[in-house]
């Protein structure tokens, strides 16, 4: 139903899903993903889980996860003159959020502006407020209420070559990757794993949702899909990951050191299939991978990350070639099945 990666990502990225308010996007995902899975469920936190069963007896469980939330703001106070006060949800960069168009959860459009006379060096998220054109508290409340959320309203656009820029590619691009994987696996009846596809909530506020869905599914193996920063921009600190250089195989971030067996098996698969890869080491920042690894008695968890420039802005930039590399690598790795041995675990 989606003609291209771009169409898929554009559809996903147009849905508002600020942490804690993922419900609408989750409902759409459920409908789109349903043909590819045997069971569908949602847990108390709002995580969406679809499971594809296998004809293979006693197959181990593999969980593929991507968080479906995005950074944004929650309305926590409305002034008497109608202006909207906000609290940041997730790690928002005030430079990226000053003087931009936003959309609210009940559909209103508005602008996010900095307090007048706020000096650039004093800029903080709590210096921002929103204006939807209303002139009183009462009028604002018709369209926006305390507890509602908003996020950058910038449509996706194609850049030259295979590059795409826009808002919320973190992590709608990875949700699209899982969609592609599920679609391509859907015809297989004897997968080496029982595969769970989990779309998790509240990653941007501290990897909260993945904890409960991983507990319920109790996987033996897990692969997380998320974006990762590139170190090829002007002013960037040194680092390995480059845009367009292939699937990024996570080695470490602030939440995890990925077990060697997972890294080795992914790298070996990429080599055999001639899929471009690069090693990912994030200097600061985390992902759901660390939470997955520490589920129950421990899970062999890794991550295939999509290189992305300018994360948490309206100009997040990815390369479709990296997208393709990740889908291919994940598929090949899954089809090879249980390629790893955990000797130390007995």
């Amino acid at each position: 139903m989606f003609n291209s990666h771009y169409a898929l990502m554009k559809e996903f990225a147009s849905r508002l899903s600020v942490s804690g308010r993922e419900h609408d996007f989750s409902n759409d995902l459920k409908a789109w993903m349903k043909p590819f899975a045997d069971t569908v469920s949602t847990d108390a936190m709002g995580n969406l889980l679809l499971v594809k069963k296998t004809a293979v007896l006693d197959a181990p469980r593999l969980l593929l996860t991507a968080h479906m939330d995005q950074v944004g703001f929650m309305v926590t106070h409305i002034e008497n003159n109608g202006y909207i006060r906000l609290s940041p949800v997730g790690s928002v960069n005030p430079i990226a959020y000053s003087n931009i168009p936003v959309k609210f959860s009940r559909g209103s459009k508005g602008i996010l502006v900095a307090e007048t006379n706020c000096k650039p060096e004093e800029m903080k998220p709590n210096k921002l407020y929103a204006d939807i054109g209303t002139i009183s508290l009462k009028e604002t409340e018709k369209y926006v209420q305390v507890g509602d959320v908003c996020a950058i309203d910038v449509p996706l656009m194609k850049l030259k070559g295979s590059r795409i820029a826009g808002a919320a590619l973190d992590n709608k691009a990875s949700c699209a990757i899982i969609y592609k994987i599920a679609q391509l696996l859907s015809a297989e009846e004897a997968l080496p794993f029982e595969v769970g596809f989990a779309f998790t909530v509240q990653e941007e506020v501290g990897c909260r949702g993945s904890k409960t869905i991983a507990y319920s599914f109790a996987p033996s193996y897990a692969l997380n899909f998320d974006v990762t920063p590139c170190y090829d921009t002007i002013g960037s600190i040194p680092g390995n990951v480059r845009l367009g250089k292939g699937a990024a195989i996570k080695i470490r971030d602030n939440t995890v050191i990925v077990c060697k067996t997972i890294v080795d098996s992914l790298e070996q698969t990429a080599k055999e299939e001639s899929i471009p890869i690069q090693r990912e080491i994030i200097a600061s920042g985390g992902s759901d991978t660390g939470v997955l690894q520490l589920t129950r008695q421990g899970v062999a968890a890794g991550s295939l990350s999509l290189p992305c420039r300018h994360i948490h802005t309206g100009t997040e930039t990815i390369d479709s070639k990296d997208f393709d590399a990740i889908v291919q690598l994940a598929l090949a790795w899954i089809m090879k099945g249980k390629v790893f041995e955990f000797e130390s675990l007995g």
Binding site: A44, T76, R85, P88, N126, V205, T212
Partner: protein, 349 residues
């Protein structure tokens, strides 16, 4: 509310890690009321009172027993006790306390309630720089009147816990002042609710070590595995001089605080909206939290096991985490009225 009874609960010695006094107070209050009481391995108290029927949903009410406190770490040769470790404005062992709220205050140490006074260098000996900044915790000492290191440590061994020595009273127009309002208000409201005849079975947990990072809640939530949790706590009221609008966080006199978001949790949207609707329909005041600050046990409970739908109901409290917490009686009464409504509604949600 029987305010004198609430004051007696606030005055109980209950630092994080030594909450037994609070549990004894609750046990005494509830004897003969048909409440079964058990304790888990980290010391949380679990309460169960059968109602007329079991509810379709298991709803867990929680409050935390502990209060902000300090831990004795060593003594100097002159017999003064040290209670801070790092050059930080807040002590690692204090929960989140402002140094200015500790300096010059009376404390009591340990279960023998050894009294002492927090002291720093006299103002006449302070440099200009020292006068113009808040004192660090490790620049303060606790004077318990001991003459030697040995005497000090024999009265208050290393690891002893100290809390504010502070009385309670009513003042102004319906206000009260006490220590440990955070979160004896939650403990009190749960205790009072347990004394009633209830339509549904009632589960509650009185939690330990919230002030150190919501530690007891992890264990209690895992044991109870509720469908829904209602966290009763106290939160900052910043409606004081020089602060207005959003920065008040919450204001006194506007009822219990039902947050959409705080620093630790994004609360269940549907339940939060339902709680506000219940308040409106029943003419009870309730308010939102205007900034995403602070955190409570909801953050541990929400992410426990397969996940729990959480909401919180908090008392707007001025000068929280100090020896003189100030609250309004009518906010407490508004919370008290909300509890049966929330229990009955969520049980059948």
């Amino acid at each position: 509310m029987q305010i004198e009874n609430f004051f007696s609960l606030c005055e109980v010695f209950g630092p994080a890690g030594e909450e037994k006094g609070v549990f004894q107070w609750i046990e005494k209050e509830l004897s003969g009321h048909g409440v079964s009481i058990t304790y888990d391995k980290v010391g949380n108290m679990h309460l169960y009172k059968p109602g007329k029927k079991p509810p379709p949903n298991k709803v867990l009410f929680t409050a935390h027993a502990d209060e902000v406190s300090l831990m004795i770490q060593s003594a100097d040769e002159m017999g003064f006790l040290l209670f801070g470790g790092s050059q930080s404005l807040t002590s690692r062992f204090a929960g989140n306390m402002m140094p200015t709220a500790i300096c010059g205050k009376r404390l009591v140490v340990g279960k023998n309630h050894i009294p002492g006074v927090v002291c720093i260098k006299p103002i006449s000996l302070q440099s200009e720089a020292e006068k113009n900044k808040p004192p660090f915790i490790d620049e303060m000492r606790l004077d318990i009147g001991a003459k030697t290191k040995e005497e000090a440590l024999s009265l208050c061994p290393i690891g002893s816990l100290a809390i504010f020595d502070s009385d309670s009273y009513s003042f102004g127009n319906g206000r009260i002042k006490a220590k440990a309002v955070d979160d004896r208000i939650g403990c009190y409201l749960i205790t009072e609710y347990c004394k009633q005849n209830l339509p549904f079975d009632f589960h509650a947990a009185i939690l330990v070590q919230e002030e150190l990072g919501c530690r007891g809640a992890h264990v209690a939530a895992y044991i109870q595995q509720p469908d829904i949790a209602v966290v009763l706590d106290a939160t900052t009221a910043g409606d004081v001089g020089q602060v207005s609008g959003m920065q008040c966080i919450t204001v006194q006199g506007e009822g219990g605080v039902i947050s959409y978001i705080d620093g630790g949790t994004i609360y269940d949207y549907a339940l939060t909206q339902k709680a506000f609707a219940l308040a409106r329909e029943n003419g009870i005041k309730a308010q939102v939290k205007r900034m995403a600050t602070g955190a409570n046990d909801a953050k541990s409970i929400q992410r426990s096991g397969v996940g729990v739908r959480v909401i919180s109901l908090s008392l707007p409290t001025r000068y929280i985490h100090s020896s003189a917490c100030v609250a309004q009686l009518k906010d407490m009464e508004a919370m008290e009225k909300m509890i049966p409504l929330l229990h009955n509604q969520f049980a059948e949600e």
